[in-house]
């Protein structure tokens, strides 16, 4: 065990830090879920990142990456958060589909889809859930019927983040007549293809963060299927592993928020409206963020050493989603009567971040489902 960065890692940190200092926009961008302008501003930022070859540092160079290891990825994420660089509008692609493509895709698919994903030229949405298939994802009813070397897609997808403005979606479809985990395939479709209708859905913060997608006889080539026909469930679970395990929520954002919370405490403590006992929660928020960071560093070290991520990824998802809510509730308590007001542009948006945190225990597999996974696959408790 060696808990110090190597000189090469320190040099890499300085390289990314200095690049970000030169390139991160001085003014925060409008949120990417709120308007086409905000979305495109974030796509432009992805193009700027690509000019520095920072799109997705862990990917192989031939697909738009730098071939770096997971420790370097964590360093990149830390510097990215420190610099308050814009949110990644391409996160569904680069953090979820990308790693899955690298594992299961053909060379031709990787060449076709990864570079524009890394550069922000093509931004991806996820199309898994359906009105009747949420936590019970194996209940998916959308179909992919084979017609020569094409698939004809039909169905109703919902809660698709980014789908309103994105270019592509990856969805779970089943061969007509199949049931449950069998017969499903993971298929890509352009969101502007004939037969695709996207209806925005407002989130509780008023943003159009997600959408329903109606597919009516949408034709895509067989090339758009990731992995074998009927292997969709297995591939989908691998994607979910990346989502819960390591990529989706890197620790840096929570560490940044915990540090901001500590500053808020320093500003607010002593105010007659502030309970001195809130210091315990401020310390707790810091501990949680640090514990999450230490855990992810440990996971990264073990993955570099040849281990694989198993069902323990579900503990990550529970931990970050719960710490996020606790941290933001503490901030609201410190703000007291000011907490309910919408933030001025440029100020730390505690109330909106709190509303966003409330989604954490629901998306990427509800925390109830995660607890089932932990109980059954980590602890070995019986399914029924």
């Amino acid at each position: 065990m060696q808990l110090e960065y190597t000189p090469e890692q320190e040099a890499f940190r300085l390289e990314i830090r200095s690049w970000l200092e030169d390139h991160v926009p001085a003014e925060p961008l409008e949120h990417f879920d709120n308007s086409r302008e905000g979305f495109e501003a974030h796509r432009d930022w992805e193009r700027v990142l690509e000019t520095g070859n920072w799109g997705m540092v862990t990917w192989p160079p031939e697909y738009g990456g730098r071939g770096l290891d997971l420790i370097q990825w964590l360093i990149f994420e830390e510097e990215y958060a420190r610099a308050r660089a814009p949110g990644r509008v391409s996160q569904n692609g680069i953090f979820l589909l990308g790693p899955t493509l690298i594992e299961f895709g053909t060379d031709e698919q990787k060449k076709r889809f990864l570079p524009p994903m890394a550069s922000g030229q093509e931004i991806w949405a996820q199309a898994w859930s359906e009105p009747m298939a949420g936590s019970d994802l194996a209940g998916v009813r959308a179909t992919a019927a084979r017609d020569g070397d094409e698939y004809v897609l039909n169905g109703h997808k919902i809660w698709s983040s980014r789908a309103v403005f994105a270019d592509w979606a990856f969805g779970l479809f089943r061969e007509p007549g199949t049931e449950r985990h069998a017969g499903m395939s993971l298929i890509f479709f352009p969101l502007d293809a004939p037969g695709v209708t996207v209806n925005p859905i407002k989130k509780i913060n008023g943003h159009v963060g997600f959408a329903e997608i109606l597919l009516e006889n949408v034709r895509v080539p067989e090339f758009n299927r990731l992995g074998g026909e009927g292997e969709g469930w297995k591939i989908c679970m691998a994607t979910a592993g990346f989502e819960r395990g390591l990529m989706l929520r890197s620790p840096a954002r929570y560490q940044l928020a915990a540090a901001e919370l500590a500053k808020l405490w320093e500003r607010r403590k002593g105010d007659p409206s502030v309970d001195p006992a809130l210091e315990d929660d401020v310390v707790r928020a810091f501990m949680n963020a640090e514990a999450y960071a230490l855990s992810i560093y440990r996971t990264a070290s073990m993955l570099i050493g040849g281990a694989t991520i198993g069902p323990e990824a579900s503990t990550n998802k529970i931990f970050w989603s719960e710490l996020d809510i606790h941290l933001h509730r503490t901030a609201l308590a410190l703000l007291g009567p000011e907490a309910e007001f919408l933030s001025e542009p440029g100020a730390h948006d505690w109330i909106d971040d709190y509303i966003f945190a409330l989604a954490g225990p629901i998306y990427a597999g509800s925390n109830e489902i995660q607890r089932n996974i932990i109980a059954e696959r980590m602890l070995g408790l019986p399914r029924k």
């Binding site: 065990m1 808990l3 960065y5 420790i71 810091f286 070290s301 089932n372 932990i374 602890l379 019986p382």
Partner: protein, 343 residues
């Protein structure tokens, strides 16, 4: 940056796990409680023969010259087994202090000699009666005395295997060892209490899982019910975010700075919370059986209860973390910092 244990470290921990599983099981606890024996000599000598009592001592003192990280792995297993013996405080805190203050002391050459320690953070001295010597505290100075040179009065603990004593002593009857590093002793005590907490927590989950697979109600194992599953999944989730903190604290204790102290304090707080939560979840899953003396979960609940306020209360440890937060940079990229003036 490499946050993984070596193969040797993993094998060492496995040796400890096996030894404690063989020698500190439910049958042995019950027999020891029935007989009231202070120490099971066969177990203690096996512990000493495996080198666990001399692990932290330098090689020129006949020790293994290993690190706090290695000892933390043993302490975790001691927690997992609710080990009754004075291994953790003697070998983890007292012996290294004696080696520092009195190099070449003849007690250091006796791996089976346990050493008790009086520390201002604790209310009593553990295992004082069965120790070969007690390190005593007076205004920052350490003294050494044999149990027969002091007055011992037992204070019964809720934990049947904690032998706690008030010590009445007189400097005339003790040997002065000089100014001691009581802060380092506290850090070691807290770190190894955290490591034990980690083991206690995992044992409680394991006991409850085994019971939930067997126990049938409404025609099926209670472990099939989500209400039961989610108690244990939450307990396991907490454990997963304690282990890296304990390991990092153990790896950094030698830095002796505020960052290291904050990590140790973090480990101490969350490990004993995880242990307490897991113990209470395990009792709940066991139902009325869990509230009985027949099921072993109560031993882990009590050990956790005792360790929570030993070697610094949660409040004491929270204050150390708050101090780091107020005086050192925090946030992304600062996780593995040294305290600035020591960097």
């Amino acid at each position: 940056m490499d946050f993984s244990l070596s193969e040797e470290q993993q094998m060492f921990a496995e040796t400890a796990r096996q030894l404690f599983a063989d020698k500190s099981g439910a049958d042995q606890w019950r027999e020891q409680m029935r007989s009231g024996e202070a120490r099971i000599e066969a177990r203690w000598s096996a512990i000493a023969e495996n080198g666990f009592t001399t692990l932290l001592l330098p090689e020129n003192e006949g020790g293994l010259g290993l690190s706090e990280l290695d000892f933390a792995l043993v302490a975790e297993q001691a927690g997992y087994a609710a080990l009754p013996d004075p291994l953790v405080e003697s070998a983890g805190v007292a012996a290294p202090m004696l080696a520092q203050l009195a190099p070449g002391h003849d007690l250091l050459a006796r791996p089976d000699a346990s050493i008790a320690i009086q520390h201002p953070a604790n209310a009593a001295v553990a295992d004082a009666d069965i120790s070969a010597a007690i390190i005593l505290h007076d205004a920052g100075t350490a003294y050494l005395a044999r149990p027969d040179q002091v007055g011992l009065s037992r204070r019964e603990s809720i934990d049947p295997f904690r032998r706690l004593f008030n010590v009445e002593w007189d400097k005339q009857q003790a040997t002065e060892l000089g100014r001691a590093d009581w802060d380092l002793a506290l850090d070691r005590g807290a770190l190894f209490a955290a490591a034990q907490g980690l083991g206690i927590a995992q044992r409680c989950v394991d006991l409850a899982v085994a019971y939930a697979k067997e126990r049938q109600q409404f025609g099926k194992p209670i472990g099939t019910y989500q209400a039961v599953k989610h108690h244990l999944a939450s307990a396991q989730t907490a454990i997963e975010f304690v282990r890296p903190v304990v390991l990092a604290a153990a790896a950094r204790i030698g830095d002796r700075d505020l960052v290291a102290q904050s990590l140790i304090s973090h480990a101490k707080i969350v490990a004993l919370e995880a242990a307490d939560n897991a113990a209470r979840a395990a009792i709940q899953v066991h139902g009325a059986m869990g509230y009985s003396w027949e099921v072993d979960v109560h031993l882990f609940l009590k050990r956790s209860l005792a360790l929570t306020n030993s070697w610094g209360t949660p409040y004491f440890h929270r204050q150390r973390i708050a101090k780091r937060m107020a005086t050192c940079p925090i946030g992304p990229s600062h996780t593995f910092d040294r305290e600035p003036q020591n960097a």
